[in-house]
Amino acid sequence: MEASKKRQSEMVQEISGTNPLKCMKCGKCSASCPAYEKMDIKPHQFVSYVINEDVEALAKCDSLWVCLSCFACVERCPRDVKPGKIVDAARQLAVRQKGGSYLVPDEIPALVDEDLPQQLLVSAFRKFRR
């Protein structure tokens, strides 16, 4: 059990390419987050959840689907911890666990707004295919 928790936490770090231990707990991510109010687990908490190896809680939380993937937190983090990437990684884990997809590839082009940043688009696909 312990081992699998550890493995999940490592997976998040692997997928996100971040090192949560670099966090100095300044909260700048949460200060920057436009979706903060709607989040049950706040951006800065995401980092400590990974450190504390409680990815399961992250995979269940609403924040995953509230996060806009605007990456303001990633951009502004003074320690280069990239909380947004962690959210993204946790979301991927959640999606992998659930499987299935509501979106059919053919439907996608119609939904795409040309001006959207690529990264946001990819995140959106991940997010809304449950």
């Binding site: 700048k28 987050c33 003074p78």
Partner: protein
């Protein structure tokens, strides 16, 4: 070499417990060249040293090996002992049987076997040792202090008071440095100028202190005790001897568009200026990039108004060459550029300022005459937000990885002063940690919270958004409440990180003093030699070594001064004789050794060489043994083995290798 003596120490039971000392003695006797071997309880004791001395005298020993503790501990002791007994001190080698054998091994057999090998290696080495004599170099009884801030001034005063001449080289037109720009100082709230100005005057008036303001270091050569420094005295265009400091020129100067460096660029100054009213020397300089006369040849107003006739548009930079025995680096700091931290809107809004700018705004001699007002519209702010750790404790891509150390305290000071003077102003401080180690520091911070009602919020600011109405929307977070905050502020003050003055890189290179990845100068030892640079004769004072506040800077300045005085008090310095030595006959003059020498100790000369009867002029390497520190980088670069290191020669090291691998 014949006539080697071996002395094996028991070190009480420290060595004898895991090394069969008798066996080591017995085995040492079998080594070629060994004529004497003995053991004793404590070789370093007086009785032990006496035994060594007696053996040297009676058996006419040519070299000795002491098998004892680390050479870092007692090499000097045994060298002195040998010298007293009439043996050259460099004919002593130490086999480290304690730290590197008996203390780490438990098995006697194993320990003894290794001890024998270590002794053997030392014997093999000593048999190739040669007598070495330390050279002597003279000490110029004058010190150079680079930088005229509080660190430099204090160092200079302390050295001068001890009776030695000191030159201060300051790149701006006046001494005083950053401290002169500050309004009040923590934790006592003294007026900065009130405590600094007397020191500036003292320095200027001191008979043994010589000021080179508006000057820069051009070139440094030489070595500890005997540095030669070229100082560039930049053209002031004002004759220092004639100027009375009346200030008419500054009033009359029509070109007033330059930003005042002293006021952090918040207002303007004329082309001819002194940085501030109490400047020392109180002699203005003409900024050649601003002066109409110097740029176009027309104007000349200052010259007309100067009754002393001190204006001289024809002045040129002047190079002064001076000799020094010691150099103190006190180059201070700058505030970092905030380009990488655009979220704080520093470049977008005039009302987002740095703490240093706030110092000027709060100062009675500053651009707002000491009134707290917004720079955009001159209105009194009602809500002020302070942001801590701006660019400090950051990932390399964003700012500086270190804590700037002074921000927590000066922010508390600012917050307190504002609440004191303008009780209706709301002050919010966003902090990550409040760091207050220091005498009366935490008390000071607590007063800000408890007595002055400053609102400290744990959490960082994510963004400062200038609003159309001129206010600033600060997006922050209160991590303890778990709430995101959006505060509408009139003014945001950023505690921007400090960094070493950019000029330090060039100076460090000239001095061959090492700097770390953040451009702070490296100390010779972080704990035990914190005010000395690894380069002999170069000392460190103030923030150039690492972030520090005023009291720390002053105490470090004093410490550096003591080190300088200790050096200047000597008439002669003994130089380390373990230096590189080239064999002229073999030298190709290729130049690779000089390329790797960190001390510039190697030069090339064309000399007449007599190579077994063939006389010819050849370019050969010459080592200045006073400069050489004996690292040996050159010896490996030299393909022919022309360069060798005395005391650690190729053959000596190879003999050790052979003895160990035997």
């Amino acid at each position: 070499m014949h006539g080697i003596g071996v002395f094996v120490c028991h070190c009480g039971s420290n060595i004898a417990a895991t090394v069969d000392v008798k066996k080591v003695v017995e085995m040492a006797r079998l080594e070629p060249g060994v004529v004497h071997a003995e053991e004793y309880q404590y070789m370093c004791s007086e009785a032990g040293q006496e035994r060594i001395a007696t053996a040297i005298r009676e058996k006419n020993l040519k070299g000795i090996v002491v098998c004892s503790c680390s050479p870092r501990m007692h090499e000097a002791t045994f060298r002195k002992c040998a010298e007293k007994a009439g043996l050259n001190p460099y004919m002593v080698e130490i086999a480290n049987l304690r730290e590197q054998c008996s203390w780490i091994h438990k098995d006697i057999e194993e320990g003894t076997e290794k001890a024998v090998i270590l002794a053997r290696a030392a014997i093999a080495k000593v048999s190739l040792n040669t007598s070495l004599l330390p050279g002597e170099s003279r000490v110029t009884k004058r010190a150079l202090v680079i930088g005229g801030g509080i660190a430099g001034i204090q160092t200079a005063l302390d050295i001068a008071d001890a009776g030695y001449e000191v030159d201060i080289v300051e790149k701006t037109p006046s001494i005083g440095g950053k401290m002169a720009q500050l309004d009040k100082t923590f934790p006592t709230l003294d007026c900065s100028a009130c405590i600094l100005t007397p020191k500036m005057v003292d320095a200027a008036a001191h008979e043994r202190i010589n000021l080179y303001t508006y000057s820069e270091i051009e070139k440094v050569s030489g070595f500890v005790g005997d540095f030669t420094v070229d100082i560039r005295k930049k053209a002031r265009y004002v004759n220092m001897d004639k100027c009375t400091g009346c200030g008419v020129c500054m009033e009359k100067c029509p070109s007033k568009k330059a930003l005042s460096e002293f006021n952090s660029g918040l207002n303007n100054r004329p082309a001819i200026y002194t940085p501030f009213a109490q400047a020392i020397p109180n002699v203005p300089v003409i900024d050649p990039t601003q002066c109409t006369k110097l740029k176009t040849g027309k104007c000349g107003i200052c010259e007309r108004f100067c009754q002393a006739g001190a204006i001289d548009y024809t002045q040129k930079d002047e190079i002064v060459t001076r000799k020094y025995g010691a150099i103190v680096v006190a180059t201070g700091f700058e505030i970092i550029k905030l380009d990488n931290l655009e979220e704080y809107a520093y470049s977008q809004s005039k009302d987002v300022i740095t703490s240093l700018e706030l110092e000027r705004i709060m100062n009675a001699a500053g651009p707002t005459k000491g009134h707290l007002e917004r720079l955009s519209d001159g209105k009194a702010p009602k809500n002020i937000v302070f942001v801590q750790c701006v660019g400090s404790r950051c990932d390399e891509s964003k700012g500086k990885p270190y804590c700037s150390k002074i921000c927590c305290m000066y922010t508390a000071k600012h917050a307190m002063l504002i609440r004191d003077k303008y009780p209706d102003v709301n002050v919010t401080v966003f902090y990550i940690d409040v760091r207050t180690p220091g005498k009366n520091f935490d008390e000071f911070y607590r007063r800000a919270v408890e007595e002055y009602g400053v609102n400290y919020v744990k959490g960082q600011v994510g963004k400062v958004a200038p609003q159309p109405d001129g206010s600033l929307l600060v997006h922050g977070v209160d991590l303890l409440d778990g709430k995101q905050l959006k505060i509408s502020a009139d003014m945001v003050v950023l505690a921007a990180a400090v960094e070493p003055s950019p000029s330090v890189r060039k100076i460090a290179t000239m001095l061959t003093a090492s700097i770390d990845t953040n451009n702070f100068l490296t100390e010779a030892h972080p704990k035990l030699r914190p005010v000395e640079s690894p380069t002999a004769g170069v000392f460190l004072s103030g923030i150039c070594q690492g972030p520090k506040d005023i009291p720390e800077t002053v105490s470090q300045a004093g410490a550096a001064a003591v080190k300088v005085v200790g050096l200047l008090a000597k008439d002669k310095l003994l130089t380390n004789p373990c230096t590189a030595k080239p064999d002229e006959l073999m030298c190709n003059g290729c130049g690779s050794c000089a390329n790797v020498c960190p001390y510039g100790a190697i030069s090339y000369e064309v000399k007449e060489i007599n190579d077994h009867g063939i006389r010819e002029n050849r370019r050969v390497a010459v080592v200045n043994s006073a400069l050489c520190q004996g690292c040996g980088a050159c010896t490996v670069t030299c393909p022919s083995g022309t360069m060798d290191l005395q005391g650690f020669s190729n053959r000596q090291i190879l003999a050790e290798v052979d003895a160990i691998c035997r």
